[in-house]
């Protein structure tokens, strides 16, 4: 019997359809169907200024907007040959890590709800709100930040931000122990999640699965360590790994990453306290600094050509490894923007980690993938 789980279904956490074939309560086949949230962000980007694409990035992944902003903007800067001030890089690293905390806490909230825990869901939402408060205090919005600009970030951190962020971090650390008590401390959680959705590291690599799912299978692959971007080579942190490759292992990896992110955030705050400076590059082409000149068709009003180039960037987004590929042919608009969404790849292997388990296992397994449909469909 084929059952359509979606596009309107409590398990999906977004708009997508998981078609599963079941035999009694056992899954024998699975086929995810995507595209319900396809907005053509790559196409719209071709008609926008480099800076205006940032507004789309917040909507690409609605739980990790700033990670996607930095992903796109680093690729765009590489394509435009622009150097970024040191302080802006650290601020980007700070925002990436705050966003990772926000996203993982959001994941925790959604995941525990899948296995029937309503209480931690609200704890997660409550704690994520503090991260959103922090974001709001320097970006001006709670979810759609529009904070990054080509050449840096829009504005510096407000006065007293670092103290505020430290207070939030201090408050969050004991909350993570509370999360663990509610999940790992419960035998039922282990009954539900152990040996579920198992994947070995080799399978993960073959299927293109990255992020916490891959690390839970025992491979310590983290772009922040392997290919340091921003200033990750200057901060201390450990890559969280587990060995079992099942749902519990993914939980453990994400929880450990939360704690490591707090560690990185604290180092960033210390650095930012000591090193004031400019946050936006000074040598920007006319149409990249604000305000924006009126434009006609591609490059039509520009007598001056800018060097073309191709930019590639890869960041360790909360869901996995995201990449952006920006082609600049010298106009005000990018010629082509291509994103690689980690969830897209993680979901493409759905069949291999669903078949053989029960229908009741679908929510925890798909929950442990941490699906954000916005970035899958783009």
């Amino acid at each position: 019997m084929w059952v359509n789980m979606g596009p309107q279904h409590p398990m999906t956490h977004g708009l997508w359809n998981l078609k599963v074939r079941i035999d009694g309560e056992i899954i024998v086949d699975a086929d995810p169907e995507m595209g319900y949230l396809h907005r053509g962000i790559e196409k719209i980007s071709e008609d926008r200024h480099y800076n205006e694409v940032v507004t789309l990035m917040d909507r690409t992944c609605y739980v990790a907007g700033l990670s996607w902003e930095t992903l796109y903007i680093t690729a765009a800067e590489a394509a435009l040959h622009i150097e970024v001030p040191e302080r802006a890089r650290w601020i980007r690293m700070l925002t990436d890590e705050l966003q990772r905390i926000g996203s993982h806490v959001m994941w925790y909230a959604a995941f525990v709800q899948d296995i029937g825990l309503m209480t931690p869901f609200l704890y997660g939402m409550r704690d994520r709100d503090l991260i959103l408060d922090l974001f709001q205090s320097f970006t001006g919005a709670r979810m759609t930040y529009e904070y990054n600009r080509v050449g840096g970030v829009r504005n510096d951190l407000p006065n007293g931000f670092t103290d505020r962020a430290r207070k939030v971090m201090d408050w969050l650390m004991p909350r993570f122990d509370e999360y663990d008590a509610l999940c790992l401390g419960s035998d039922i959680f282990h009954r539900r999640c152990d040996d579920l959705g198992r994947l070995s590291a080799t399978e993960c690599i073959d299927l293109g699965i990255t992020g916490p799912m891959l690390r839970s299978a025992g491979l310590a692959r983290d772009l922040r360590k392997d290919r340091p971007y921003h200033r990750y080579d200057q901060v201390d942190f450990d890559v969280a790994t587990a060995t079992a490759g099942d749902v519990t292992a993914r939980y453990l990896v994400r929880m450990e990453e939360l704690r490591q992110s707090v560690r990185i955030v604290r180092q960033c705050l210390d650095w930012l306290d000591k090193h004031p400076g400019s946050v936006l590059a000074q040598e920007l082409p006319r149409w990249l600094g604000a305000p924006y000149a009126p434009v006609g068709a591609e490059g039509y009003l520009l007598k001056r050509r800018y060097p073309s180039g191709t930019g590639f960037s890869a960041v360790e987004e909360p869901h996995g490894e995201a990449q952006a590929y920006v082609v600049n042919t010298g106009g005000e608009h990018p010629y082509r923007v291509k994103f690689r969404s980690p969830v897209f790849a993680n979901m493409s292997g759905a069949k291999s980690y669903l078949v053989g388990y029960h229908v009741a296992d679908i929510p925890p397994i798909m929950g442990s993938v941490d699906i954000c449909v916005g970035e899958v469909d783009r």
Partner: protein
């Protein structure tokens, strides 16, 4: 035994009929005040009181759960309608009442409408059986416990009927799970109740409570209490055993296709069953309306004190159900059934043995009594 609730309604009935009859001439007056008519109206009034009281209790139970759950989750629960949201559930009920009753095109008409109604009715019948305080009950039967459990276990049938007839894959899966789960947990519940019956020597709930005047049964029968409690969690389909309506994978389980008042029936019946589960726990293990002798008499002798203490205990037991709901995830179907058959039944059998031992111990010369079975 003439129950107090019935005598109250009888009095109301004769008063009412006397007053109405006095304005009519003789033959009508005589007929109105005859015993048959008075008794007939008394039964109706009795039912009305029971219905209203149990409905209000059920709705207050929902409010109670919402508020408690809210506090567990670091929020407030319903706040807007009435003081602290007291009237919120009445408003919700009114909203559901106003909604259109619809039926999916391919659904089976008979089963689709019969299922929720029968589920509701069988749940409500139990209020006529369970005593609330000494004398405050509907029918006082020598086998009221057995009848209560028999009626209680009708539910899977009607759930399955409504699930199957709504012609939805999720409903069907939920209905099948529900039936399997309820049947699986019927057995340990009955076995645990057997332990209580052995100790009390009666199937009559009144007698069981009276037997607990000296000591509540949860002391000697803690294993049975545990089994009964877990079994009730499953029967009531509450987290961690709420698989039939596990909303993460089965949308809403067996009531996916229901809306409006039919959905309200399910919702209400669920809470009726939750209330009855809590009532049964109190009646069987926590001494019903009796209080230990060291509680000052002033606290146990005011009017309706029995009902007060009884309801207090019931809500306390329900609060534990809510506490569990707030902190545990749900288990999987196969695990649930395995727990039911492989853990709960042996424990229930053990509790029967324990009950027998307690009965035997009672006849030791130290206690100075003779062993009795069936007082």
């Amino acid at each position: 035994m003439a129950t107090t609730l019935y005598s109250v309604s009888d009095a109301i009935s004769s008063l009412l009929l006397g007053a109405v009859g006095s304005i009519f001439p003789e033959p009508v007056h005589g007929w109105l005040t005859s015993t048959d008519v008075v008794t007939g109206l008394a039964v109706l009034i009795f039912c009305a009181i029971l219905l209203v009281a149990s409905m209000i209790n059920t709705i207050m139970l929902i409010w109670f759960e919402r508020k408690l759950l809210g506090r567990f989750m670091d929020r407030r629960g319903a706040m807007h309608v009435g003081y602290a949201g007291l009237l919120q559930n009445f408003a919700d009920g009114l909203k559901l009442f106003r909604k259109n009753t619809f039926m999916p095109r391919e659904a089976d008409r008979l089963g689709y409408f019969t299922g929720p109604t029968a589920y509701m009715v069988t749940s409500m019948i139990l209020f006529g059986i369970l005593p609330v305080s000494s004398g405050w009950n509907g029918g006082s039967l020598p086998l009221s416990l057995l009848l209560a459990l028999a009626v209680f276990s009708f539910a899977p049938l009607f759930i399955f009927v409504s699930a199957w007839s709504s012609n939805n894959k999720y409903s069907l899966l939920g209905g099948m799970r529900s039936a399997a789960q309820m049947i699986a947990y019927e057995v340990p519940i009955l076995l645990a109740v057997v332990a209580v019956v052995i100790l009390a020597g009666s199937f009559d709930l009144n007698t069981i409570v009276l037997e607990q005047q000296n000591y509540w049964f949860w002391g000697p029968l803690v294993v049975a209490l545990f089994v009964f409690f877990v079994g009730m969690l499953a029967e009531m389909e509450r987290i961690p055993f709420d698989l039939p309506e596990a909303e993460a994978e089965l949308v809403e389980g067996w009531n996916t296709e229901y809306g409006g008042m039919l959905f309200a029936f399910f919702m209400l019946a669920d809470y009726v069953r939750a209330l009855i589960g809590s009532l049964l726990v109190v009646l069987l293990f926590l001494g019903g309306w009796t209080m230990p002798s060291y509680v000052p008499t002033a606290l146990t002798s005011f009017p309706l004190a029995g009902i007060f203490w009884f309801m207090l205990k019931t809500y306390a037991v329900f609060a534990i159900f809510v506490w569990i709901r707030a902190s545990l995830p749900r288990v999987r179907t196969d695990q649930l059934l395995r727990i039911g058959w492989m853990r709960m039944i042996p424990l229930a059998l053990l509790s029967i043995v324990l009950a027998g031992l307690v009965v035997l111990a009672r006849c030791l010369p130290v206690f100075g009594c003779v062993p009795t079975l069936g007082g």
